[in-house]
């Protein structure tokens, strides 16, 4: 680790021998040394410098200057104080004053200083190594020489002589170099003097002796074999309870490395959640500040706009009747209007032509062709955007009635304006009066509120809204199914002999009707947005734009997969229930049979028993009521309805899957497989019709 020994060698990709050590070479001539222009700290790369400036010099410039002029404190050891996110970070003096090289060097010095070679304490932790030749990689027990047991060391400095012979006996305090850190041993399991001790590890349980070892776990104190105390953890005494010492985990330099058993090693509290860093609140705080400022600004802009409308209405109304206002009594002149406009904006905001050489919006330079124009709302000088190639219209001479129509008619205008609103709105757009020059920024500010209130409804009329209307319905049903399914599952799994089937039935009927709705909605969805091509393949309708097609496809795929999976899950649950009922039936029959045997032997009950085995029925059917093979319209029992419904459900589900198969087979043109499938589908259809007829009004 000592850098001076680093062999000089060439590195691939450079002809320059790079033998120098890191701390020497940071300011080497072969590399471009970058210095921070503010604090002259040297940087390895440009990006590092960028970040450095972001981190250290962003914001509070004064702090930089003052601290960089102060004498440099020692660069080592002073920990960076944690800064709360997004507050201005306090200056990190270490960064400001040390150069990177010094700072790096410091780290190297730390390494050298703490090098294991110079630390006598380290030398003792030899035999804890699992990768130690004798233990880590060889599973062979015979290689474990007894000597490794005899000189086992904890890094707390206590040297244990011959622990295999006298485990549990606390060593004399004098052996300990560091009494403060010595772990308490009063809780240690003492080796039995009469009987054999066994390793406390559940999977091991081997006899503890010299060969296997006999070691106390420093944490729990139990006795283990060598192999099962092959773990290390940092521990400390819990000093808060002086009478009953307890060993705690201490994952820091305060903790003492000690030998522990596996369960103590694995029981160490762990941080199992990957890191996430939620910046929402600081984001929202900043957004608040910005939006408040913008809001203030917009209020100012709106107030000016109101005054401008008042002014121009007055001007328009009082001059329209006698266009020849030279002779009118009114005192309106063009220059008076301009003066008043300046007053509204504020003279301090009204830019002088000489101040501005280029349009602030498009950066075009003003000249004979690109003329200066004053925005009457903010007072800035802008161009009219007619000549720039950036497709921004920097400013426009806007007829005020454009603003008044719908958009800004509700503002708090003067009574004169309110009274004449109707007339003002009807001023033709090409009228020379009643218009103001307005820049693009001010237009956005003026229309901001109107826009945001209108924006959310914007795509209601677009092609996607129909799609989402259906999707929302599908989503709602899905949510219902999501709510019911776990309940249903739980009921079935907890169902016990002669339990309440009513609840289960109710839930199933609900679930099934939801699924039916879901299925018909999917069908509707398909009908609305898909077309069948000549090759019999379903495909999003061509009327839709390509990304809407993608959307429609995805929705279709996700919903059909969901339907299929849910159906299969429900089917499997029904099987579970059936299985349970079958078992119950058997138990009941057994009971009946036993009773029969106990009764008169000549009584012939055998026949009826066989019958009921052939048709496994639920307990409620045990009353002698055989399942009729022909139509039973009016008097279906609850159970029969349930069974028929269940059968119907299975059939529909199969039909659904078969349909999917048919689609697939058609797509892949495996027509030889098509025929049996079609056949199956017809059979299923027949069955379904049959069942529906049987169920009659009790169908879903």
């Amino acid at each position: 680790m000592s850098e001076s020994n680093t062999p000089k060698r060439r590195v691939l990709g450079s002809n320059v021998p790079s033998g120098a050590t890191p701390n020497e070479e940071v300011p080497s001539n072969h590399e471009n040394v970058l210095l921070c222009p503010i604090c002259s700290e040297s940087m390895v790369s440009l990006s590092q410098l960028n970040r450095h400036i972001d981190d250290i010099h962003s914001g509070s410039d004064s702090g930089v200057l003052s601290s960089s002029s102060s004498p440099a404190p020692p660069a080592s050891g002073s920990p960076v104080s944690p800064t709360p996110p997004l507050q201005k970070a306090p200056m990190n003096r270490e960064f400001l004053n040390g150069s990177v090289s010094r700072w790096l060097k410091n780290n190297f010095e730390n390494v050298v200083e703490t090098s294991p070679l110079t630390s006598p304490q380290k030398r003792k932790t030899v035999k804890l190594d699992l990768l130690d030749k004798n233990k880590g990689f060889s599973l062979s027990e015979s290689l474990t020489s007894p000597s490794t047991l005899n000189v086992f060391n904890d890094s707390d400095g206590t040297k244990e002589k011959d622990i295999s012979k006298s485990p549990g006996k606390p060593p004399t305090a004098s052996a300990s170099r560091n009494n403060v850190n010595r772990l308490s041993r009063s809780h240690w399991q003492q080796p039995s003097s009469v009987s054999t001790d066994y390793c406390a590890d559940q999977t091991c349980h081997r006899v503890l002796n010299i060969k296997n070892g006999k070691v106390n776990c420093r944490k729990c104190g139990l006795l283990y074999c060598n192999e099962h105390t092959y773990y290390k953890a940092r521990l400390k005494n819990n000093d808060t309870i002086p009478k009953k010492p307890e060993i705690l985990y201490e994952p820091s330099k305060e903790g003492t490395w000690a030998r522990v058993c596996r369960s103590c090693y694995e029981g160490k509290p762990e941080d199992n959640e990957p890191l996430t860093n939620d910046l929402t609140s600081s984001f929202k705080k900043q957004r608040q500040i910005h939006n408040d400022q913008k809001e203030l600004h917009r209020n100012k802009v709106t107030k000016r706009f109101i005054k401008l409308v008042n002014l121009h209405s007055d001007y328009y109304l009082s001059t329209k009747t006698n266009p020849d206002f030279w002779f009118s009594s009114s005192s309106w002149t063009v220059s008076r209007v301009l003066d008043e406009e300046k007053q509204i904006v504020g003279l301090e905001n009204w830019q002088h032509d000489s101040q501005v050489q280029a349009c602030p919006l498009c950066f075009s330079n003003f000249n004979f062709f690109t003329r200066r124009h004053h925005c009457r709302v903010c007072g800035r000088i802008v161009c009219d955007g007619s000549l720039n190639d950036k497709q921004i219209i920097c400013s426009m001479d806007v007829p005020l009635n454009l603003f008044l129509n719908n958009k800004l008619a509700h503002l708090n205008f003067s009574p004169l304006v309110v009274q004449n609103m109707k007339e003002l709105k009807e001023i033709p757009d090409d009228n020379e009066k009643f218009r103001i020059r307005c820049c693009n920024d001010c237009k956005d500010d003026l229309l901001h509120d109107w826009k945001s209130s209108n924006d959310s409804n914007r795509d209601v009329y677009s092609s996607s809204s129909e799609i989402f209307k259906l999707y929302d319905q599908l989503f709602l049903i899905k949510k219902n199914i999501h709510g019911l399914y776990p309940k249903y599952e739980k009921l079935i799994h907890s169902y016990q002999v002669s339990g309440d089937l009513d609840e289960i039935n109710k839930l199933r009927i609900k679930l099934m009707s939801f699924l039916r709705d879901f299925e018909s909605l999917i069908a509707l969805f398909k009908k609305s947005f898909f077309v069948l091509t000549k090759q019999n393949v379903l495909k999003p309708s061509d009327d839709l734009s390509s990304d809407i097609q993608k959307l429609v496809n995805n929705i279709h795929q996700s919903t059909t997969t969901y339907l299929q999976e849910t159906l299969i899950n429900i089917k499997q649950l029904s099987n579970v229930l059936k299985e349970k009922e079958k078992n119950e039936l058997k138990a009941h029959q057994q009971y009946v049979a036993d009773a029969a045997v106990k009764n008169i032997e000549s009584n012939n009950v055998g026949g009826s028993e066989e019958d009921s085995i052939q048709s496994p029925l639920s307990p409620s059917s045990l009353s002698p009521k055989p399942l009729p093979s022909q139509i039973l319209e009016p008097d279906l029992t609850k159970r029969q309805i349930r069974e028929l419904r269940e059968e119907l459900m299975v059939m529909s589900e199969q039909k659904f899957i078969i349909q999917g198969l048919i689609e697939k087979v058609t797509k892949s043109r495996k027509f030889d497989e098509l025929a049996p499938l079609e056949e199956n589908k017809t059979e299923l259809d027949r069955n379904i019709q049959d069942l529906e007829r049987k169920l009659g009004e009790f169908g879903f």
Partner: protein, 653 residues
């Protein structure tokens, strides 16, 4: 936090799509000064996922489309196409972006001109204060519900294998050693460290200039408060500081040159894996430890065990097919059909998986025979692991180069130019320190250049590499150079360093195979042990027994950097034990090394946690290309002026 990358990604998935963070109501509710609350349509949770070109592969490698669909993500869009998106105010938008300047710019535009109902923003790395301020400023309509950093600026290949974020095309053009790349790699590694909550001691190979810069970059990122001190508490539950081990591929050029013999490695070597996707014919096959349990169980198996396992898999499939097959549909009754249909999705998955692996293994078999890999692989191992004498090795190389006819065959066996070049390079590397006339590298190069023997002839850059690699790739140099004054000692150092495979192999096989079921402990094709093994062993041994002089050589080669947070927690005595190691190989990692780590993790009793990664995953061809590029760049000196022409140059030469 154990080093378990797949678990990390699934937790992040939940954060993204299932259980998004609370929308920070505590401070957010007062926002409605103007009453501009985003009007969330009741009931609708349909989501659009907005990604950028950096996060697209991250998402697509971890999560499947049907997974996304099942969480109501019904649309995935690229933020780069922001301007052309369709407004869909019904959709809630989940943004998953890398905090690059470009993506932030697009996001700002999106927020100023929103297409969706509301926004939940996730960044896959740390975002700086300036960026967040800009975003806050642009959210005029207050549509952002949450801003969260999660840390996944890297690709998860296996549970224990990652690569740093792929570079954009533009960045690739800017050259290999550029600072831009360095910073990208650094921030990618930093995001990995954060996601697994590790603030590590950094150790890097001292001889690598690239690594020195990289390590300083990483240390700076950890120490500086640009990350809001995220690193300060991540180690709080650890007893011992984790280690970030930075290695340079150039210090082990051998491992990626050899033909590997385990499943995942072979697929990459012989067919090629791109972001966990393999193209066989015109089929695209996805390899995923997560969703394919057969692959999970077989990815590290050697070829012999693999073929056995595939055979069993096929037999299992056959028995199931007999019970339920589509052909039986017409003959069997409805009950059977019912059974089949219920199992149908499951069954279909099974059958497609069987055909996938059958497809892969037969492709591998084809390639092995086509390239005569049985012979070639044995010879490769013989060269690097010193299994036979120098003269007998030379004889065998001559045979290969002469396209000899093997005893039982009629036709001469022609080895591809590429494989010949690799073989000669292996030889040249191995006998680098053997002087003429024993060293016959030149003779081999001459044979390679003979168009009668080798067609097509090797490219000029390949020949250049063979002739002048010595200047650039140091193998045992770290050892020999320090004694280079006594050149007589050179020969005695042969077989040290990279080529002590045999020595380690006995050690390695004995221990590892006790646990694995491998019935081929002396597999001739797996004699070479990557240098990584030696590095790790001595690193761990050195930590445990610092005055063991045998390991001194290796520790000399590593330089250590300790972040302040580590010193604060553990004091300056940082080298007392190792439990977690994160390895990053600059220049590319191999699947073979990932397998080594997998075996190591599963064999050590004390639960050593190791994960490994690199900037890319190499196979022998891509490594040879990279070597050619490096040597070419240095020799022709075009690297400074025309870095982006290097690839073209390689093809030309």
């Amino acid at each position: 936090m154990t080093l378990n990358l797949l678990k990390t990604s699934s937790v992040y998935y939940n954060k993204l799509f299932v259980d998004p963070p609370a929308t920070g109501n505590a401070t957010g509710s007062s926002a409605g000064v103007t009453g501009r609350q985003s009007s969330v349509l009741p009931g609708s949770k349909a989501k659009v996922l907005l990604v950028d070109e950096n996060t697209t592969p991250i998402i697509s490698m971890c999560y499947t489309q049907s997974q996304l669909l099942s969480n109501d993500v019904i649309l995935v869009e690229l933020i780069e196409k922001q301007a052309t998106l369709n407004p869909m105010k019904h959709l809630q938008c989940v943004c998953y972006l890398k905090p690059s300047a470009e993506s932030i710019q697009y996001l700002i535009r999106e927020l100023k001109n929103p297409h969706y109902n509301s926004y939940q923003i996730f960044f896959n790395n740390t975002i700086n204060k300036g960026q967040i301020e800009k975003l806050a400023e642009s959210d005029e309509f207050e549509l952002v519900q949450s801003v969260v950093e999660i840390f996944q600026d890297y690709l998860i290949i296996n549970d224990n294998l990652f690569t740093t974020s792929p570079l954009k095309f533009q960045q690739q053009l800017n050259g290999v050693g550029g600072n831009g790349k360095l910073v990208d790699v650094s921030s990618s590694v930093v995001s990995l460290l954060l996601s697994v909550k590790k603030c590590p001691v950094i150790k890097y190979e001292t001889n690598s200039k690239e690594l020195r810069k990289l390590s300083s970059e990483i240390l700076y990122a950890i120490n500086s408060n640009s990350n809001n001190n995220l690193f300060d508490d991540v180690n709080s539950k650890l007893d011992t500081p984790p280690i970030l081990l930075l290695l340079d591929r150039k210090n082990d050029p051998i491992t990626p040159l050899l033909s590997p013999w385990t499943y995942q490695s072979m697929i990459h070597e012989l067919i090629g894996i791109q972001k966990n996707i393999v193209k066989v014919g015109d089929e695209q096959l996805t390899l995923s430890e997560q969703s394919d349990s057969f692959y999970k169980d077989s990815m590290y198996l050697n070829y012999g065990d693999l073929t056995d396992k595939v055979q069993k898999y096929v037999e299992e499939y056959k028995t199931q097919t007999k019970q339920t097959s589509t052909e039986n549909l017409q003959t069997k009754n409805l009950a059977d059909l019912k059974n089949f249909l219920i199992k149908f999705p499951e069954f279909k998955k099974f059958s497609s998986n069987v055909s996938k692996h059958l497809n892969l293994v037969s492709e591998l078999d084809k390639m092995i025979n086509q390239q005569h890999l049985w012979e070639l692989g044995e010879l490769q191992q013989t060269i690097v692991a010193d299994l036979e004498s120098h003269s007998s090795i030379k004889l065998k190389i001559h045979q290969i180069l002469d396209n000899y006819t093997p005893p039982q065959q009629q036709q001469p066996q022609v080895t591809s130019t590429l494989n010949k070049v690799k073989l000669v390079l292996l030889y040249a590397l191995r006998y680098e320190n053997t002087n003429k006339p024993e060293n016959e590298t030149d003779t081999f190069i001459n044979k390679l250049s003979n168009p009668n023997l080798t067609s097509p002839p090797p490219t000029l850059s390949q020949l250049l590499l063979l002739r002048s690699f010595k200047k650039y790739i140091g193998i045992s140099r770290n050892r020999t150079d320090s004694r280079s004054t006594t050149s007589s000692s050179r020969n005695s150092t042969d077989g040290v360093g990279l080529f002590n495979g045999k020595k380690f192999n006995q050690f390695f096989n004995k221990s590892l195979n006790n646990n694995s079921n491998s019935n081929q402990p002396d597999n001739i094709y797996m004699q070479h042990i990557p240098k990584l093994y030696e590095t790790l062993t001595s690193l761990i041994q050195e930590q445990q027994s610092p005055n063991n002089h045998q390991s001194q050589n290796t520790t000399d080669q590593l330089t250590t950097l300790v972040p302040e947070a580590v010193t604060r927690q553990f004091g300056s005595a940082t080298s007392d034990s190792i439990q977690d190691i994160i390895i990053y190989i600059q220049g590319g990692v191999t699947y073979e090394e990932a397998r080594l780590i997998h075996e190591w993790n599963n064999t050590t009793k004390m639960k050593l946690n190791i994960i490994i990664g690199g900037d890319t995953i190499l196979n022998s061809s891509s490594w040879l290309d990279n070597l050619c590029d490096l040597v070419n760049a240095a020799e022709t000196n075009v690297s400074q002026e025309l870095p982006n022409h290097r690839g073209q140059l390689r093809d030309l030469l």
